[in-house]
Symmetry: C2
Subunit: 251 residues, 2 copies
DNA sequence: TGCCCGTGAGAGGTCGGACCACTTGAATCT
DNA sequence: AGATTCAAGTGGTCCGACCTCTCACGGGCA
């Protein structure tokens, strides 16, 4: 488990900080929501400077393991797990990920999530799903509100799947995809179709039909992708600039 | 471009650094392999202290976007993309991810990868796959070497899938899973089975049969999981390594 | 009594600038 | 020519001072 191997952590000291906290987490000394000592104290304990300690904490914060609150303290993250949620967008720009590739991943994950939810979902999840569908009906004319319930619907399915890793991955991909489309305004007709699709998904899941749930989700995402593509094709695309020499770039 | 989504970035200044570089990457000014100015210079340009700059760079490095090389410089990452590769293990410990959950994700991703590879793979990929299978034959009695080719085989399939995001996710999950089992010694008979499985997968992919490829991969991973479970259950009375010793903080 | 606001302790955030450690390649010695 | 040395350049660490943000305590006022 001392997995710094491929890790190529910044340096010795940050690695020391990370391992120290990692150990505390793995043996249960530190649990979600717990607070670590003030930086000045902690630095003294570890016999390193405050700056180095902060580097290590920053690393953990970037991974989503720690949460720093100015003026309050530093805590172990206690919300739902996040895997590279904030980095996918940037990595996409860097490596030239295409929207269809992200969508392909999303479809893969969400269809499986739907199937798993149909298999393992509990009554409590079904209840929430039903509520969200109802809310979508109620907010069919309010795009912003509708979107909130749409997101919650998918998130609940993820939770019902019983696989938090898959749920986290869905969150990551969805977020990156959402950033891509944030500027596009959904059309009312799209929401109408979307609503129907969600109802189908809900029924398949509640009925305990994995394959149907998977197919319904597949159809839903497929049409969502088509709508998104249609909207985006109407927009101007900025081309990537060409650069050959690998040298220092002026700021 | 936009203000970082819900981005709970550490602070204003780190956000400034991240956005500055993000912008450069998004408009193509910075590309993989490029070097950014020396910290002292760069800090002066951005009119912030070197410490703050380093915080921002550390954040980007943690996300896998930047690569810092002591005594040389700081570069934009130029290898294959990584999504939370180093964080999954820690997040697993924190949120209590189970091995079966990780395996479930791995199966989902790799089976899809195999199917996609069968659809989209190019001759070059097939050639490499064939070579790796041959190497596996040759190293059937050398666990360490065998493992290397095993990994390369799967990695090549990922590349052949034409979806770098999915490939990166596979890498992430595999790494985390590998950390769990690094101590277990594979048995010769397992490698024998494994080898057969790889041959089947290879043939299905080369033949352009997505469904067969998916099924073959499914079978392969299923038996791999069983073997892993068998090995781990065999070592009862040894639940977790005791890292109490390391609690004493190596100074 | 009870609400409001000032205030200070404590926590993280930023700073600058000295000094250490690592890489690299040019200058020097053999 | 080849091996060795060394200095410049770049990231790594440290110190210690000061700024900003939160929050709770407690006095003042209604």
């Amino acid at each position: 488990m001392q997995a710094d191997q491929a890790g190529i952590l910044d340096t010795q000291l940050t690695a020391q900080v990370v391992n120290h906290i990692r150990a505390k987490i793995e043996d249960g000394t530190l649990q979600p929501g717990d607070r670590i000592p003030p930086e000045r104290e902690f630095a003294k304990m570890l016999k390193i400077s405050r700056a180095s300690l902060r580097t290590g904490i920053g690393y953990l914060a970037a991974m989503g393991v720690m949460k720093v609150r100015h003026g309050v303290g530093t805590f172990v993250s206690d919300g739902p797990p996040e895997i590279g949620k904030s980095s996918l967008g940037l990595l996409g720009a860097l490596h030239g990920f295409k929207a269809w590739q992200m969508f392909e991943v999303r479809k893969l994950i969400e269809t499986s999530l739907a199937a798993l939810a149909a298999e393992r979902g509990k009554e409590e999840h079904f209840t929430v799903l039903a509520e969200e569908v109802a809310e979508m009906y109620a907010t069919i004319d309010d795009p912003a509100q509708y979107l909130i319930h749409d997101v919650r619907f998918h998130r609940t399915i993820a939770e019902a799947s019983g696989n938090p890793i898959l749920a986290a991955l869905m969150e990551t991909v969805s977020t990156a995809l959402y950033d891509e489309r944030r500027k596009t305004a959904e059309r009312a007709r799209d929401r109408k179709n979307s609503l129907e699709a969600h109802r189908e998904i809900y029924r398949a899941i509640r009925g305990g039909h994995p394959t149907e749930a998977r197919n319904a989700m597949e159809r839903h995402l497929h049409s969502a992708e088509s709508e998104l593509a249609a909207e985006q094709s109407a927009r101007v695309r900025k081309p990537r600039r060409e650069r050959k020499a690998k040298q220092t770039v002026p700021a």
